[in-house]
């Protein structure tokens, strides 16, 4: 019995079945399948959770508990640019607080907020293992390191176009 209205593409079903052979339990597919879902559908809606639950033969409630425990799953419609500035010690020693404050000013929002047009979200995050190249931030999938105010301005200019 299926409840979800969302479906995998044929290619995706094949990819998931290939993955299934790599794990002795269906449960272990949960994180890989959540990642695939996020890539395909952009975010993990309740409907997607149902699909993941069916695929991994578990309950939507369990999928929900995972999607909320792990911080990288998007539970809302994703934002075009999710700017995540490292706020941990090594980056802070190299001036990440100034970088964060500058971006807050440029975007007119505080860390933890999104811009009204829905294009930018700004988050202060924990260590990205970029301590040797700080201050660092992650924007969507990419790392930007050894940040300066000028570098940040150039990036923001590009993204605001």
């Amino acid at each position: 019995m299926t409840h979800s209205m969302t479906r995998w593409s044929a290619a995706r079903t094949e990819e998931i079945e290939a993955l299934r052979r790599r794990y002795p339990t269906d449960h272990a597919l949960l994180l890989p399948v959540l990642w695939i879902a996020q890539r395909d559908f952009g975010w993990i809606s309740h409907d997607v959770m149902e699909l993941v639950a069916e695929t991994c033969r578990t309950s939507p409630a369990h999928v929900y508990s995972l999607a909320t425990f792990y911080t990288m799953f998007e539970l809302e419609k994703p934002i075009r640019y999710h700017i995540q500035v490292c706020n941990n010690l090594s980056c802070s020693l190299c001036g990440s607080e100034g970088i964060l404050a500058h971006i807050e000013k440029r975007l007119g929002i505080r860390a933890g907020e999104a811009t009204a047009d829905g294009r930018f979200r700004l988050t202060a995050v924990e260590c990205l293992a970029s301590c040797g190249t700080g201050p660092a931030m992650q924007v969507n999938d990419a790392y930007y390191e050894k940040l300066t105010l000028e570098k940040v301005d150039a990036l923001l200019e590009e993204w605001m176009k």
């Binding site: 890989p32 990642w35 995972l66 924990e126 293992a129 301590c131 040797g132 700080g134």
Partner: protein, 425 residues
Amino acid sequence: MIAETILLKARMGNTDSHTLASARAAGAYRASAKTLAAAPEEIVQLVKDSGLRGRGGAGFPTGLKWTFLPKNRDATYLCVNADESEPGTFKDRLILEEDPHLLIEGIVIACRAIRCAHAYLYIRGEFCLPHERIRAAADEAYAAGLLGPNAGGPGQAIDLTIHRGAGAYICGEETALLNSIEGKKGQPRMKPPFPTNVGLFGKPTVINNVETLANLPFIVEKGPDAYRAIGTEKSPGTRLMSVSGHVERPGVYEVAHGVPMRGLIEDLAGGVRGGRKLKALIPGGSSTPVLTAEEAYAVNVDFESVQAAGSMLGSGGCIVMDETTDMVWALDKLAHFYAHESCGQCTPCREGSGWIAEIVRKIATGKGTRADLEKLESLAAQIVGNTICVFSDALAMPVVSHVTKFRAEFEAHLADRASSSSAAP
């Protein structure tokens, strides 16, 4: 002047060092080929003789860990810990990005030694380029038969599955990592049973750090004596030290265990930034007790020396703070991190980490009182030993060491500090 001793970084630095062709041309997979003719017990003995100790944090002897596996077992798993989330640590990332085949060769050797047919590599979710690199390297290794159905000899499979985490520091703790692979929340398990008896999917499992495994090709190829010729008696081999914070040249430096910490900071990392003086140094990742400048300059980069100074070499994440650093501000950053990352399973840690972060913030913003400072210390003392995993120790150690060693700075932030003669009425 000290210099690097290059063992793990040997092939790094070229733009294509991550490819199989480049790695092979420079000698990759010679050591793993050698192990195909060896009995698993011989490889275990070799690693025991080398004295290799884990690079994930605890420094546990690798060969010894492997011998804890039960003699009769139907399946064994190897879990490669590539979660690298300890603040101040960024050396596994270097291996994954620049020489993933060194790691895969180490994995093959370990699998041969412990008779494992399927290794799982758990990589932190934020690591996009490292993930791309290790996946591409695994694909190359499969295509070349270095992984796959006959990688351990005719009919003996060695499979490698790369499993991506999704943002949770605690998943670096080995039993949380197992739960995470199994599709559960990354919350640590009670020990015993230890993973070598009841691990991944209930089977005997060895968990090793990326850098630990990357040492195996050298040990197999050159032998335990050559390995022991580097480093100290209790800490053989080299160490990838991640140096960050207030230094001129932050980066990952590979040094023989036993070199003076001062040499690492001054000769390799270029000294404290701007010619300033050192105030404090965290030697082994954010969880290890902070050292004063005096202590830091007296230790050597090895497990026993740093331990004798009351700290730990841990993951080798060395965070340097100069004389301008406000130590209350520094602890505020760390306390905030631990409060954010507590997995929430054990009450003392879940509640304690939040309280600690709140009190440190209160003191940092000038609103704390003497009673708050006392509460901070008593909280730190009370969470230790009362939880399933040692995350609580990882939080308590920085708190206690910062407050004890830099008490005057904490007191100077208090709202009810004893007023000095120059204080306003």
